[in-house]
Amino acid sequence: MRPGWILFAIVFWLAAWALNEWLVRRRPEAKAARRGIGLVVPLLFGVTILVLWEGIVRGFNVPPVLLPPPSAIWDRITGSVPLLLADFRQTVIKSVIPGYIMGCGSGFIAAILIDRSPFLKRGLLPIGNFVSALPVIGIAPIMVMWFGFDWQSKAAVVVVMTFFPMLVNTVQGLAAASSMEKDLMRTYAAGYWQTLAKLRLPAAGPFIFNALKINSTLALIGAIVAEFFGTPIVGMGFRISAEIGRMNVDMVWAEIAVAALAGSAFYGVVALTERAVTFWHPSVRGGRT
């Protein structure tokens, strides 16, 4: 045991915490400064986690095959950029994005289709809930069996995972317009499609984005997990499962880091789009009614 490292980590932690507490109490006039604080605080928190991790791993001499220190992971990341890029391409570009688009798109279209039939809505939604409770690790081997080893089966898993959240949320969103808003359309003798385009879809926006956000993390996890069940020898899930057997745990964590980064970025992009598109919603404009 090396108490120096542990002590350092704890001191750093306390200092960063205090700094954060101090920072969030600042109320600077300048917009830029407020934004800066909004960025620095979570970053500092993240750095603190890494320092704590490094300190504990070094301080307690944790074997690197169990948990490598962040510095070793960083070395591995910088040393294997081409490999990580190839894996990223295979998993994210080839499997996740097409699967996400197809899953969300078909969920949305299905929602519009069944919207016209209350009968279908009542019949399909409970089954939708049932299907979305199917665990990935059960679906993945089936998809590999059906769609082969390459990205198609991964995209299929992503489609299955993202379809129902989108369906359920969109159906719920299409019902979100208040009865008075709908009555208004009625007084204009507006047709179904006019009401859909001008009232119900905008009102459904927050729900649809909710599904898009949930799905952004689901899609990535689904594709990676599906690669555990058979894949060509490239891809983030492949790398993770192959390298863990080779005891290259730093490589495993490098892939996990890339996955977390890609997932957070994906989520962030969707969240930003949401802010831009549903700017009018109280949760976005800050509660003022």
Binding site: S178, M180, E181, D183, L184, M185, R186, T187, Y188, A189, A190, Q194, K198, L199, P202, G205, T278, F279, W280, H281, P282, R285, R288, T289
Partner: protein
Amino acid sequence: MTTGGVIAARDLSLTFQTNDGPVHALSDVNLDIGKGEFVSFIGPSGCGKTTFLRVIADLEQPTGGQILVNGMTPEEARRARAYGYVFQAASLYPWRTIEKNIALPLEIMGVSRSEQRERIARVLDLVDLAGFGKKYPWQLSGGMQQRASIARALAFDADLLLMDEPFGALDEIVRDHLNEQLLKLWDRTNKTICFVTHSIPEAVYLSTKIVVMSPRPGRVTDVIDSTLPKERPLDIRETPEFLEIAHRVREGLRAGHSYD
């Protein structure tokens, strides 16, 4: 049943089925409203004023009796876009600017862009909101929102206007001003207006006919034809004739309450 008037209700009833039994919102309502009339509906909360307007607008189905709007069923009238409706709450779409909100019914009717622009400018001016067209509803005060929703109904330019407490959220000065504007508009365009209000002076000041209603079940207890001239300056409200009518309305209303 005559079909000459704009609205003709015969033994109109509407009962809501709710969990704790039926609610008789309207019961045997008989009413005729002719072209160009300005009719106010007044009565305690829950007496069926909104419900009656909604039946005219084909937003509720009566459970008894008959009603004709412009000689048609309410549904036909609605499809013919026979009326403009101002709801009790503003009900603007938060994702559209004020301008775009007013444009909405026009878009649906397929009015040309240039005419949309022109009408929007006119009605915004009418409700004193010129310059606020590019704002979003939540950037306006409640009173301004209510005025925008009135503007939206006016832009629609139907011959029949249904207004459900349109000035409830406004202060007295603005209210007076809008009352005047509304009277002028009515005078100029010869529209038929059905107007719900809680304010006795407002009802008397505006109307050619005042319908007093009472609740449980919702009934028409009195229909008062105004003897005031068509030309009405604001200070007509201090004339004995005015006070006389107001008194009659107040008496009718009081009968519906349990006080005194």
